[in-house]
């Protein structure tokens, strides 16, 4: 089994990610309710090593990784790759030139 840590930690991080993803009404979103219901259902078990519980925990950890990395990827994209190209004015300005103004428009 993978080294996953405490389920509570995964649950809290997952709920936090869902909050980032959903916005204002995150508590009513189906994902939030589904995750909470899943964790509650598998909480009570008499077995020491419950396979279903670990499977659910692994799934939760995977979903957490997905949400987190999508958010970080988008943030990196916005910061480094989202700006597109420079306009001709900006390019000219890089070397200190200005584009010529032609009063009648371009011929």
């Amino acid at each position: 089994m993978a080294a996953l840590g405490a389920p509570l930690r995964t649950l809290r991080a997952l709920l936090r990610e869902l909050r980032h993803a959903a916005g204002r009404s995150y508590r009513d979103s189906p994902a939030y309710r589904h995750v909470l219901a899943g964790f509650r259902a598998h909480r009570v078990t008499s077995e020491k090593l419950c396979r279903a519980q670990q499977e659910l925990h692994f799934q939760a950890a995977t979903y957490l990784c997905l949400l987190r990395s999508v958010r970080e990827h988008e943030a990196l994209h916005r910061e480094y790759h989202g700006r597109g190209e420079r306009s001709p004015q900006e390019v000219a300005g890089l070397v200190g030139f200005r584009l010529p103004q032609q009063p009648g428009g371009k011929g």
Binding site: A2, A22, H42, E55, A61, T62, S69, E72, H73, E79
Partner: protein, 293 residues
């Protein structure tokens, strides 16, 4: 590397996803209007992003499975089939993806939706045998079987990190894999391949699409199987897949806009693929035990 490859990737995704719910396409960019269009856009600028055109995302159950509703419109695949998934948890996750789009729809972040579309449309039109064959073919060029001889620190790192995974796979599937430093790679016996073919045949078509996707991302069949069998986490699998890169990063330094960008994208895709496989190949029932006091 980054900008051009990234735009090429976005473009591929863009044209692969015609607008869902049959809404009119946005007019094409001023492609023939000369180098600078009227609004200053270039001929080779990427098309304008779709704005978020829906307020609410909800799920409903139809005959074929669970469907996604954007406002009152039903979501459709790029080939205009109705978007149905067999598992409710998967439908919820897809709905969350659509719901988390703000202002514009960024298809390149919606990995689960992409996977569902691929499974529903099967654009490469492969049947189960072909998919399994493509997956097992990766074993011949599996990352964890290709070792270097120098630098010795990297060789040592590969031995320490990759040997346990190979040993686990050999024990779990009762096969021989081994590793090799030659350019031809390891010599995989036919019985090993057959074992994997038989094992993969036990998954349904949807799960197989997911498995093949994960293998393509991680470039390793062994890492993918250990991930799907829940032996290692997604982060660990991605780390093992990028072992040489991590070694070089530790040696020469990290470049955020390239290394972290790739890392996050690989993690996202691998996590999406793994989750997809698990959600498509399980059926869960909850048995309530009565507390007796």
């Amino acid at each position: 590397m980054s900008s051009v490859a990234m735009w090429r990737g976005c473009r591929r995704l863009w044209w692969a996803h015609s607008p869902p719910a049959r809404l009119p396409r946005p007019p094409p960019a001023d492609a023939e209007g000369g180098p600078v269009g009227s609004c200053g856009r270039r001929a080779y600028a990427p098309p304008a992003e779709r704005k978020r055109f829906y307020q609410n995302v909800s799920i409903s159950q139809g005959e074929g499975g669970f469907e996604i509703n954007l406002d009152h419109r039903k979501l459709k695949t790029p080939q205009a089939k109705l978007f149905t998934v067999p598992s409710e948890a998967l439908a919820i996750a897809v709905a969350t993806e659509w719901d988390s789009q703000k202002d514009t729809i960024k298809f390149y972040t919606m990995h689960l939706t992409t996977l569902c579309n691929t499974a529903l449309d099967n654009p490469t039109q492969r049947n189960k045998t072909q998919l399994i064959r493509a997956a097992v073919k990766f074993l011949e060029t599996d990352t964890v079987c290709y070792r270097v001889e120098e630098p010795p620190a990297l060789a040592e790192l590969q031995k320490n990190e990759w040997d346990p995974v190979v040993a686990w796979a050999e024990k779990r599937y009762n096969v021989t894999i081994g590793s090799s430093t030659s350019i031809l790679g390891p010599n995989i016996p036919a019985s090993t391949k057959e074992t994997f073919v038989n094992h993969l045949a036990s998954y349904n078509m949807w799960a197989l699409q997911g498995i093949e996707f994960v293998i393509t991302q991680l470039k390793s069949l062994i890492l993918s199987m250990s991930l799907i069998d829940r032996h290692i986490t997604v982060e660990k699998a991605v780390l093992l897949s990028r072992l040489e890169e991590e070694y070089q990063i530790r040696r020469w330094g990290n470049v955020e806009w390239a290394h972290d960008y790739d890392l996050c994208e690989l993690r996202a895709r691998t996590a999406a693929g793994t989750l997809f496989v698990h959600l498509c190949s399980e059926s869960s029932t909850v048995k309530h035990k009565l507390l007796q006091d």
